[in-house]
């Protein structure tokens, strides 16, 4: 009997990919109102179900606390200073910086093991029920609150609108997995529909095109044969002279759940020098057990389960991680989707410093799309698009060529709408895009409210704030400087020549957040 080597006979091949509990959604982080604790919430796909965890997964929340660092170059904005900054970040993350972590493994679908590794008080572990708030005493006499389980997905966003803005074809067309060139189609990215853009413009006959429905399906079209081009020269306007927004402001995650790791941690548990170390940086990782280690029946190490502390960190952690494969990382919202183009090999977590040059080129590419859209609305853009009357498709091979165009977008301080982010009125510098995205961490400033980009609060509309990077923060509207909430201001859209008259993304989550731990809302019933 012949036996041909045919791995595909046992391979889940090609267009047959299931949802994965390793798919990280978001990382939220903010200080509690008294400034003593910091909250982090890492959310991920709720499979097998909301509140039911997958025993093959391992999650890490990595934490480090250090002083706030001011940009050392003053107003000197140059490619050299930017690249120097990326190098410094690299040296820091590969060098002296020591991170602590909370590691979560799943003992059963409803029971998890938490390991606290590398914190000043020493390592320890404990075991908690899923879907319940647990209060964990630490060896140094403090208390951590933990919740691991199902929640309403805290993300509220017109994801389809965002995909339309970047011409992400798989949301709208049947794009075989093999056709990697047909993901972001090579036409201008834009916030306003382009005249004659038959590939992505709204269709009256298919109002739900590209929007995922309650039954999990997404109405899509057959991808027309290439080349995929746009030959127009202006934005589309209706008979009333209005532009058409690529967003309609709906919440594409409404009614959807996630699974989440939520921790409320004393700052002094993370660092002994809370006065000096005012920043808490965090990022999340998901790992999947390797097949070889699934087979071997590994009894639970009694030191983890029966003795809350202490346990040996150095060798144990490495040996444990060697049994897993890193799948996904999450630090900043949109770092993956908008800037890293979702490439698997760019899942680097905080260590994304090597993407610095790519980040500059990518931001310039986006700028040629979004900058002219913003200008067309009568707003000023931070991106130098040579007064282009319409969005342009342009990519860069050289960082040096891209940099002058994008320098202001990268380096301008992002104005906040009011002073509520800085309740103590401290001289805290405003954040700038280059330092927000590299390293790819959620950087919580413990002296602020933790609203993005000084952290990320649940109620922050980060998708719209991300777009505000392309606004010129030196410009003013009605006597007030542009700020990161400007594009969420309904009055702006009411007066703009555009339909629909809506901010790009919803202003609030579909379910109110809780006032107390675990803050994320209860999951929806009968939803996965």
């Amino acid at each position: 009997m012949a036996d041909h080597n045919d791995p595909n006979a046992v391979n889940h091949i090609f267009s047959d990919i299931d949802y994965s509990p390793a798919d990280l959604y978001d990382l939220f982080g903010w200080p509690t109102s008294d400034g003593q604790n910091v909250v982090f919430a890492l959310t991920f796909a709720s499979t097998p179900a909301a509140g039911v965890l997958d025993p093959d997964l391992l999650y890490r929340l990595l934490l480090t606390s250090h002083p706030r660092v001011a940009w050392p170059h003053g107003d000197n904005v140059s490619l050299e200073s930017a690249l120097g900054y990326f190098d410094a970040v690299k040296d820091k993350y590969l060098g002296e910086l020591r991170t602590a972590e909370i590691r979560v493994t799943v003992k059963t679908n409803s029971r998890v093991i938490l390991k606290f590794l590398g914190f000043p008080c020493g390592n320890f572990s404990t075991e908690v029920d899923a879907n319940r708030v647990a209060t964990i005493p630490t060896p140094d006499g403090q208390t951590i609150q933990a919740f691991i389980g199902g929640r309403d997905d805290a993300f509220f966003n017109d994801l389809t609108g965002f995909f339309r803005s970047i011409n992400y074809a798989p949301q709208f067309y049947h794009v075989p997995h093999t056709m990697t060139e047909a993901r972001e189609l090579p036409i201008p990215k834009t916030l306003l529909e382009l005249e004659g853009n038959d590939l992505f413009n709204y269709r009256d006959d298919m109002p739900e095109w590209g929007y995922t429905q309650l039954d999990g399906t997404t109405p899509k079209l057959d991808l027309p044969p290439g080349p995929w081009t746009w030959k127009g020269d202006k934005f589309k306007k209706d008979a009333n002279g209005n532009f058409r927004f690529v967003y309609d402001g709906r919440d594409c995650r409404a009614g959807q759940n996630c699974n989440a790791l939520v921790f409320e941690i004393p700052h002094s548990f993370i660092t002994p020098s809370v006065q000096a170390n005012r920043l808490v940086n965090a990022w999340g990782e998901s790992w999947v057990l390797k097949a070889a280690h699934k087979v071997v029946s590994i009894p639970d190490d009694p030191s983890w389960v029966n003795h809350p502390w202490p346990v040996v960190r150095e060798k144990e952690e490495d040996d444990e991680l060697k049994k897993y494969k890193l799948v996904d990382t999450d630090g900043q919202p949109f770092a993956d989707a908008a800037l890293s183009e979702r490439e698997d090999d760019r899942q680097l977590g905080a260590n994304n410093f090597w993407l610095g040059p790519h980040f500059i080129k990518r931001l310039a590419h986006l700028g040629w799309g979004f900058g002219p859209s913003i200008s067309a609305l009568g707003l000023k853009s931070s991106f130098d698009h040579n007064n282009s009357p319409v969005s342009v498709y342009k990519t860069y091979d050289l960082v040096a060529t891209a940099f002058p165009k994008v320098a202001k977008t990268l380096f301008q301080p992002l104005n906040m709408p009011d002073s509520s982010w800085n309740p103590k009125g401290l001289p805290i510098p405003l954040r700038r895009p280059f330092e927000i995205f590299i390293p790819n961490v959620c950087a919580v400033d413990m002296d602020t409210s933790g609203t993005w980009p000084f952290g990320r609060r649940l109620e922050d509309q980060v998708a719209t704030r991300f777009l505000s990077m392309f606004l010129d923060m030196d410009a003013e509207l009605n006597g007030k400087k542009y700020h990161i909430e400007l594009l969420s201001d309904q009055a702006l859209w009411d007066s703009a020549p555009i339909v629909p008259k809506t901010p790009p993304n919803p202003l609030h989550n579909d379910k109110p957040f809780l006032d107390s731990f675990p803050y994320l809302a209860e999951p929806w019933l009968d939803k996965w």
Partner: protein, 400 residues
């Protein structure tokens, strides 16, 4: 492990759970496709799930049903890359090599895709272009060392290189797999076990086969390997019980043939004959439907079990014309030998040997042919190599 421990009533196995899940998905997707005839996404998901279902069950009827549905979908929606790729995979499994190339050319850019290039490497191996295959695999691995690509290199190396290196490649492939790919992991363990089996290292083979069973409990495919190893060790009763169970579960004619051959090996000729009849009937029905994937089974069955050398030659010739590789060359040589065409038989055996294959069964066959041709010294040489590679190569075997 005993046969009873494998066969006794157990809780639902991972295999059964997976199969039930896939069957439910196929059923649900079929309903959706009926309700929404223009839903391409669901149809694509359906055909992929049907492929997975058919490979799990091993039932030819399900592959045939898939083929019908796949043709309809391609006809209706056009030659989408993922549909053509699936069809190419299906055709490759059914040995329709020219059709594989045609499938890959149906969508304009498909043949340049990574996934398609893997399949082309499979094709060139089947066509006897070993060096081209190796180069292609190495290039693919340098681009993206996916587990299945590395496994292909392992297989190449197991046949044409060093078995120890092959095992290292299989190990490397295993390291790429996660707990969500246990079926693939079990398959790799079976390949590693077969590497040991082919060298007569039965204890090591058992270790891998048991790991395969532990990785993905309840798969009939693993039971097949268990059966072969039991039989090779002389535990015919255990082997028989397992093969009967696999036949009950899959109705695969090649397993019927394998059990028949086991009965022959045990001198239970009368029990073998109905199994050969049944297998032959299935093979010939398949041929009548225009299929080609049972040619090598027909050549094999006619050459030995049925001792009808002219029929054996007919099918071996057809298989060789379709897939000129060391396997078909060796089978053709054997069929010619059975027809007393010794000189011509040696011609094809020499072709097989020139490939560089290091297979004790082929060496043993070569020895027999050379002996018949009066080339005693050469015959002894190959007999010696076969013994060195696997001192137990004359034992019962199914996979070769």
């Amino acid at each position: 492990m005993t046969t009873q421990s494998i066969l006794r009533e157990k809780p639902v196995t991972v295999f059964e759970k997976e199969l039930a899940r896939i069957e439910a998905q196929v059923s649900s997707l079929k309903s959706r496709c009926q309700e929404h005839p223009s839903d391409l996404q669901s149809r694509i998901r359906l055909v992929y799930r049907m492929f997975h279902q058919a490979t799990l069950t091993g039932k030819m009827a399900q592959l045939e049903e898939l083929e019908t549905v796949l043709r309809e979908v391609i006809e209706r929606f056009g030659p989408k890359e993922d549909l053509c790729l699936l069809k190419a995979n299906l055709d490759f499994r059914l040995h329709r090599l020219p059709e594989v190339r045609h499938d890959l050319e149906m969508a304009p850019l498909l043949s340049s895709r990574f996934e398609a290039r893997i399949l082309v490497a499979d094709l060139t191996f089947q066509e006897g272009q070993y060096h081209a295959t190796r180069s292609a695999l190495e290039e693919l691995i340098s681009e993206n060392p996916t587990w299945d690509t590395v496994a292909r290199l392992a297989y190449w190396t197991s046949k044409l290189g060093d078995p120890e290196e092959a095992d290292r490649f299989y190990l490397q492939a295993e390291d790429e797999l996660t707990a969500k790919q246990m079926l693939s992991y079990a398959w790799l363990e079976l390949q590693r076990g077969m590497l040991d089996f082919n060298r007569g290292r039965y204890a090591d083979a058992w270790t891998h086969y048991r790991t395969a069973e532990a990785s993905y409990p309840g798969h009939w495919h693993t039971a097949e390997y268990f059966a072969e190893l039991f039989a090779a060790e002389g535990n015919f009763k255990e082997a028989e019980a397992l093969l009967l169970d696999v036949i009950r579960r899959t109705s695969r004619p090649e397993i019927q043939q394998a059990l028949g051959e086991l009965y022959l090996y045990m001198d239970r000729t009368e029990e073998a004959e109905p199994l050969f009849d049944s297998a032959l009937s299935a093979y010939l029905s398949s041929v009548q439907r225009g299929d080609v994937h049972y040619f090598h089974h027909l050549a094999d069955l006619y050459a030995d079990a049925r001792q009808e050398p002219r029929e054996a030659l007919r099918w071996a010739q057809k298989d060789f014309e379709m897939r000129p590789n060391y396997g078909t060359q060796s089978a053709l040589a054997w069929a010619l030998y059975r027809n007393n065409s010794i000189a011509e038989s040696l011609k094809y055996m020499n072709l097989a040997l020139a490939s560089g294959v290091r297979d004790p069964v082929i060496f043993s066959t070569a020895s027999e042919l050379l002996w018949a041709a009066g080339e005693t010294e050469k015959s002894l040489f190959f007999a010696d190599i076969a013994l060195k590679i696997n001192p137990q190569h004359k034992n019962y075997r199914m996979h070769h």
